[in-house]
Structure formats: C-alpha cells, structure tokens
Subunit: 308 residues, 2 copies
C-alpha cells in the first residue's frame, strides 16, 4: 500500500452565499463538506488509480469526527491518530455573484508530545506495509519544525521511498534528511533557495538533499530534475478551471509511477494529466477519469539539458 | 421551572481575523464557540437570576453534539430533541482591525414530521413541570409556519403562560393563538402590522391576539401595553456596546417577573436593566450581575396613556 501523512488534516467546508459583503449578514444557501488536507486528497486520487492507500495524521474534536465519518466506507483506509484538540475547519465562502472565494482557516489543534509519540509508533507499524510514503502539508502547533526530517529518517530505515510536499521551514528542514522526491511550486522553490529562477532553484534544491525535484510551474506543467536526467512535461493546451487539489493529484501521479517503477517520462505525463483533469473537474479537488485518459497520451514530455 | 423552546438552535462560532478582505485567504487567530439560539440565551440568563430553566428544541449532527457538550455540566437543563440533520453553525468573523463583524449563517437541518411528533410528545411532558414557556426564534426547514400557534395552544391547555419572541410569518400565525406576551422590536412590529408608528402598531398587535405587548425600542428602552395599563421603561443613560443577546436578556427579565408575579413596572425595570447590562458586558450575549444591580434601581418607568 501507499501511505500518505497529513499531520494537519481539516474539515473543508464550502459555503455558497448570494453575494459576500464585508460586515454584512449572510444566509448560507448551500453547505458542502469534505475531508481535507493534502495527504487525504493524494490518497483519494491513488485509490481512484487502483492503488491501495492509507491515510495517517492527526484528527480530533467534532470536526475530526466529521472527517472520519466522511472517510468511512470508501478507500483510502483511515489510520488517523486521535488527539484531544479540535481538527481545524477551513471555510471557503463562494460568492455566487462573482464566483470568487474568500478563505477562512482555523488554526487547528495543539499536538502534545505524548500524541506525537503515539503517532510515531503507529507510523513505524504502517511503514512495514508501505511501498512509498508521501508527507504532505503544514505542521500543526506543538509539532517541532524538524518533524518531517524525523519521518523521512524512519522511512529510510524501513526502506520506504519518501515524497515530501510541504513549504517554508518544514521543507527546508525536511530536505536535509534526503527525501527521494520533493514537489515544490515556483514560489516554494524561491522561498527555499532564495533564487527566483526555477532552473537554478531546482538544481539548488537537489544540492540541499532532495534526490529528485519535480517543480510545478502552474499551467506550464512540470520541470523534473532526477539522477536519470531532466525533463519538462506540459499539458496539450492551457487548462482553465479550479486549481484546488491539482498539486495533490500531481503528487498521486508521481507516487503511483514510482511504485509501478515507470520511467520518468511516463510518471511525469501521468502527473500532468491528473493535475489538468483536476483543474477541469466541476468539483474542487476531484478529477474526471475520462478527461484524464483523454489527456494522458497528449501530454508533451521533452528532455531538458541538465543544470548544475 | 421555566421552559424555553429554540427550534433552530445553533453552534455560534466567533472567528477573529487580523483584517477581512473579500476574496482573500485568512488565518483565523482565535476561535470561540458557544451554544446559540435565542431560547438558550434566555435560559442562561434565567439560570443566572436563580430560576430553574430547561431548554428544548432540536439538535443534530456534529454541531449539535458540540452544542450539547457546551451545555453540559451547567444550568440550564438540556432537554433538546435529537434530529438526523445537522444543527446550523453561525460564524461571526470579527475584523480585528476595525472591530466590525461579518456574519455567515448555515441553513440548519430539515426536520421531519416524525421528529416534530417526537418533539411534541417531549414538549407536552415538559409543560407539566413548567411555570412559563418562552418560544424563541426562527423555524427550521420542515416545520410548518403555524408551529408556534400549535405550541401556544398546547401550553394554554396545560395552563402554562406563553411568551412568543419571533418575527415574520411565524409571529403573525403565532399571535392568532393568543400568547400571553410578545416582545417584538420596532421593525418586527412594523412588519406584523404594516404600521411604522410604534404606538399604533403596539395597539394593533394586541388586537391581533397578544394579551400583552412589550415593544423593544432599542436604546430608548421598552414600551409595554397590558391589560393593567401602558408603560415606558428606559435605561438611566444611553448604553454603548454590543447589542447581541440584549433582547434575549429582556425576555428573561419579563419571564422571571411573570413567574414571580411582580407588578409590571418591576418586570419592565428588570428587563431594561438586564438588557443594558448585556450591551455593556465585554462578551457578546453575557451580562455582568454587578452592572445589572447597579442599573436596576435607576431604570425610569413611567405610565403612558393607553392607545386604542
């Protein structure tokens, strides 16, 4: 199975309102709820691709109970660890008049040292069954900033390849533990390296410890720097839609390709096609399998001169 | 005991954000939660005044579980009836930069005929112990608009006096069942009667079936029309603060005065002092007992010529 870790899970709520006015009072006409957090999205896409996937991380309070209820009965498998604090709610307020979204994100629980220790025990047990592990998203309060480095070291000790998808200091500290793959976007790369040129920043990220770097350049597709060579992969045309979850779908594409030992160009084509099919899907964070299958053979993957 | 009915309970969340921007993304710095709905507020104030109070109405889903958890362990007594739907969340987004609030209210559950029947059975049993009942707030979906008339008829049959605090069509239909008291504000009175003059509208509301009418005129205080006479009651000075819950505190003052068989001027003084102490309290919907005791002897109650 493929394991995904989401330390900061969320209950994602979408509120539709006729028109959002600052300091006004609004009757929400429609409430949609889904289990949130990058690793949960990755695991759902992996399950849709036919991979057995398991989610772990922290969950607590009534919002956490909602997350578990929404996960129950379908893949991925829920291996989340209970905490005393309340899982954060994220609220996307969609203005029906303009289609624009205003986002409100709760801070989430404070995880205690005992809860972190309980997670590590569960994580080590899950690694024994895992073919690969994805470490996704931000860290909740109470978790030390080097947590991902610890999780990468444990995965390495268990012989399980790692993909790290986070940003800021957790990425900087995590990368030093030499993950197999990171998937930053241009902004995250620039923040990590101080270099706004994606090519030089990608090369720099490899020097900092990442075995491979797949940089997501938004609508332009992916840039991959690996020990087998460098590639660019782009969708057949610019796709317009809701980019929520597109990066998570790309992670699922890369991770499934790794487990299936696909050559890099096929991994990248899959990641780009999944990502584009997610942008084009009517619901945020979903992907349409037909669109994916239609796009897959049309993704253009080209070799790129190595940058050192 | 005094019974309060809140058919549309809520989980009231207050989110503090540094500055609210339409279409921006916000990290909520502080989340406060409290059990919401007018009747719950009324019952809390009654308990603070030393009255035994019991809350009923509907509660469901994870937000409903939060409401029950927040009610547990303190008065009032929880006699809420479980429904399959999810109790609504209301979110007050407080802009720390300006102090202004943007309100988002979920629609709440759809109550089934079976759930309404279960409520009526429980309500009839509670009436046997009740000295008075307050019927508060809006109706959830699935409840017929004449529901309050039905609840007033059942209370009358049990010999329990009724206070109706709602608006729009539920008020119009409820008043025809002849409640002992209604407490509309100027806008609700105008909506009910089509008359924007509070004096004439108050007289009209009595003709429509309310035995007594206590109209809340905002900072100017209360206007009472009863079979014992008409009065005005006003706070000693204009109070500035957060008016959330001020009307519910007035209801608690009137209801406790009714049960204690106080003369009307004392009931009105209590309602005005509680209301002002709620506006002056630092937290929304709370009242400071010291402020209340200080204000009580200073409320000015004057007789007013009857209007017919």
């Amino acid at each position: 199975m493929i394991l995904t870790v989401t330390l900061n899970t969320a209950l994602d709520l979408t509120y539709r309102v006729p028109a959002l006015t600052r300091h006004g009072s609004h009757r929400v006409t429609d409430v949609a709820e889904r289990p949130g957090g990058k690793g949960l999205n990755v695991a759902r896409v992996l399950a849709a691709l036919g991979h057995e996937s398991v989610v772990t991380g922290f969950v607590g309070g009534s919002a956490g109970a909602d997350v578990r209820r929404l996960l129950a009965g379908f893949p991925p498998v829920d291996a989340l660890v209970a905490v005393a604090g309340n899982t954060r709610r994220t609220i996307a307020v969609v203005d029906a008049a303009t289609g624009d979204t205003t986002q409100l994100n709760e801070p989430g629980p404070v995880v205690t040292p005992e809860e972190w220790a309980a997670f590590l025990t569960s994580y080590d047990a899950l690694l024994r069954e895992a073919e690969a592990v994805a470490l996704c998203g931000s860290l909740p309060s109470g978790i030390q900033v080097g947590a991902y480095a610890e999780l990468i070291r444990r995965a390495k000790a268990a012989g399980v390849p790692t993909l790290l998808d986070t940003s800021g200091e957790p990425l900087r500290r995590g990368i030093a533990a030499r993950p197999d793959l990171i998937k930053p976007n241009a902004e995250e790369l620039a923040q990590l390296t101080g270099d706004h040129d994606p090519l030089r920043a990608t090369a720099d990220a490899r020097r900092r410890g990442a075995r491979s770097v797949v940089a997501s350049l938004g609508p332009a597709g992916l840039l991959a720097a690996t020990s087998d060579g460098w590639w660019r992969a782009a969708p057949p045309a610019r796709v317009k839609g809701n980019p929520t979850g597109a990066g998570d779908s790309a992670v699922a594409g890369l991770l499934s390709g790794l487990v299936e030992r696909l050559p890099w160009p096929q991994r990248l084509a899959r990641a780009v096609a999944l990502s584009a099919a997610t942008v084009l899907a009517p619901a945020a964070g979903e992907f349409d399998p037909k669109t994916y299958e239609d796009l897959l053979p049309r993704v253009e993957v080209t070799t790129h001169p190595n940058v050192t």
